[in-house]
Chain length 114, copies 2
């Protein structure tokens, strides 16, 4: 976890929003999650990601990608496919995946109200 | 905070992704954040929202909206404008706002690998 927000380029780009509720099965989760973060970062078209999780197990992970081709290639990655299979079988009570096109963005704090 | 994920309609709809790092100024924050959640939920075109925050103060809030008109009307709300002003002046060390169009979505866990 990091207090720094990520930097993304000027829109448009894509955001993969993964909201989830973790199960109580901890075995292997942190190792695989860490490996997937490292592996995703090596993919062509990966921009960055952010993740937060409440103490009750609800979390939001957002990864940012250049285009649909980058997302498709990452989905086809064999290690990523195995990790998703394990996630479906063991690690999540519930999740929702949303693929969204970021149309505009701005940073703050800003001195003036817009 | 809730372990339940929200339910959104079939895409397309809009997601306002607010990633932030909280300041150490706690005064008024929780009250105003709660009031804004209640007030947003009353707006025409509001769909739902999800929020998670790490113990170090980094958080992600995503609100879902029917269309741009709904987002614009909420931005113009006087109480919301005041809350944003206070947020800019006091409550956030850093934030990024992204407006994104959700193009597709699916729920899990799923039994079969896709």
């Amino acid at each position: 976890m990091s207090r720094r927000l990520v930097r993304t380029p000027e829109p448009p780009y894509l955001a993969v929003i993964f909201t989830s509720v973790r199960s109580e099965d901890e075995a292997g989760y942190l190792e695989v999650a860490g490996e997937m973060e490292r592996l995703a970062a090596e993919q062509d078209g990966y921009l960055d990601h952010e993740v937060t999780r409440n103490r009750d197990g609800m979390g939001i992970t957002i990864s940012y990608w250049r285009d649909e081709e980058a997302i498709s290639a990452w989905r086809a990655n064999a290690k990523h496919r195995l990790a998703r299979k394990l996630g479906n079988e063991r690690w999540y009570d519930e999740y929702e995946m949303r693929i969204a096109r970021v149309e505009r963005a701005y940073s703050g704090p800003r001195t003036l109200e817009d």
